[in-house]
């Protein structure tokens, strides 16, 4: 990574209107974030009973990660410090609820009510001191402590992080352990510079089978390239899905109601005097498929 955004400016300044829009209109970023979120959700290891859960998306940004949660039917609450990113999330009509907040100030939720949390490419921001009043250690402590309290016992939190250094990873991990979490780091494709991805997988509550660390994905890029496709090392993008892994039961996607129907409904609601988001090209758009 040539330049790390965390080193440029505080997040609420870095992710301004321009950057937020740029971020959310890059098809490469959309794809990468969706894959990371998909993998984080898999590592959350929610019970395989088809029941939607209440999840947190910490540093939810413009909603790219949350959309993956919605696609799996879950309800979510997203927290972000950047108003510009949240504005884009509103524009995209994400299904989760959004909160403007700073994870370093701790999360204000009732104890034990949340079924799981993901955070994609956000927690490394906490390691910076952006204001004189910021002390990374204290902010990490406030964050992990409050997260631990609001999660149901046995629930997991999965963070995809880009730590700047080993010391930074240690800093984050030790703050999590001190808050009472069990778990550790799962690394997918550790031997590939391009596709290597780190996930902090934490379990709330006393150590149990639940807190045993899942395995990272091994192997090299072969597992995700078609046999007949030419191996073009330079153009490989992040790939964390493994084709040889049996797919989890795939929910048969209901035939959506379609744009017509949605527009009609919105019009009805407007006539009833309700305030309804304006129609845009995003209204009732097709969701991306699963990976």
């Amino acid at each position: 990574m040539a330049s790390r955004p965390e080193l440029k400016a505080p997040p609420e300044i870095f992710y301004n209107d321009t950057e937020a829009r740029k971020y959310t209109s890059s098809s490469r970023i959309i794809e990468i974030q969706a894959k990371l979120s998909e993998r984080a959700l898999e590592l959350l290891a929610l019970p395989d009973d088809g029941v939607p859960r209440l999840l947190l998306d910490i540093g939810c940004g413009s909603g790219l990660s949350g959309e993956t949660l919605s696609e799996h039917g879950h309800q979510w609450i997203g927290l972000d410090i950047s108003q510009s990113m949240l504005n884009i999330a509103v524009e995209r009509e994400v299904e989760g609820d959004l909160l403007l907040g700073d994870m370093g100030q701790g999360l204000g939720f009732r104890p034990g009510v949340i079924d799981g949390a993901i955070s994609i490419s956000a927690v490394q921001w906490l390691c910076n001191a952006d204001k004189s009043s910021h002390e990374p250690r204290l902010r990490l402590k406030a964050f992990f402590g409050s997260l631990y309290r609001c999660l149901a016992r046995g629930a997991r939190a999965v963070f995809q992080v880009y730590p700047e250094s080993i010391a930074q990873r240690e800093l984050i991990l030790s703050a999590a352990m001190r808050a009472g979490f069990a778990g550790g780091v799962v690394i997918d494709f550790p031997h590939s510079t391009k596709s290597r991805k780190e996930f902090l997988v934490l379990t709330c509550g006393p150590p149990s089978i639940r807190s045993e660390l899942p395995k990272g994905k091994e192997g090299d890029m072969e597992s995700c390239s078609d046999d007949d496709s030419s191996e073009d090392e330079e153009n490989q993008t992040v790939c964390i899905s493994d084709r040889h892994r049996p797919r989890k039961k795939q929910k048969i996607t209901k035939k959506g109601k379609g744009r017509e129907w949605v527009l009609k409904k919105k019009e009805q609601m407007r006539r009833k005097g309700n305030v309804v988001p304006p129609d845009s090209k995003y209204t009732a758009r097709k969701r991306k498929g699963r990976f």
Partner: protein, 123 residues
Amino acid sequence: MRLLTHNMLSSNIKGVTNGFPLRIEVEKAIEKQVDFNPDFLKNMFPKIDWKALLDASRTMGYAELPDETPDSSMLDSDEFLRKFHHALLELHLEEGALVCPETGRKFPVNKGIPNMLLHEDEV
């Protein structure tokens, strides 16, 4: 913000011991249709603070929820589940404020997003 989220949120200000529930001030409330999922509702029900949901739904202009905390046998009633669903997931506070019950500090809500950022002396 839906009442589901309101039911989970509490005031996080330093020194506040009972920050739940946040009082709702409504300037504008809207409704958005959400797919009905009884499994989610049944799973969520034990975690809901009924009194807070009841008061919040009334503040938002919806008066159909029962006064008494329903016991779990109510979860077999489709009629009850639909009301619960509506109150929990379809009512949105679009503009207004959430007020800390202990300090009276207001967290403004704009475009449906509560601003929960604390001032430095509140951390």
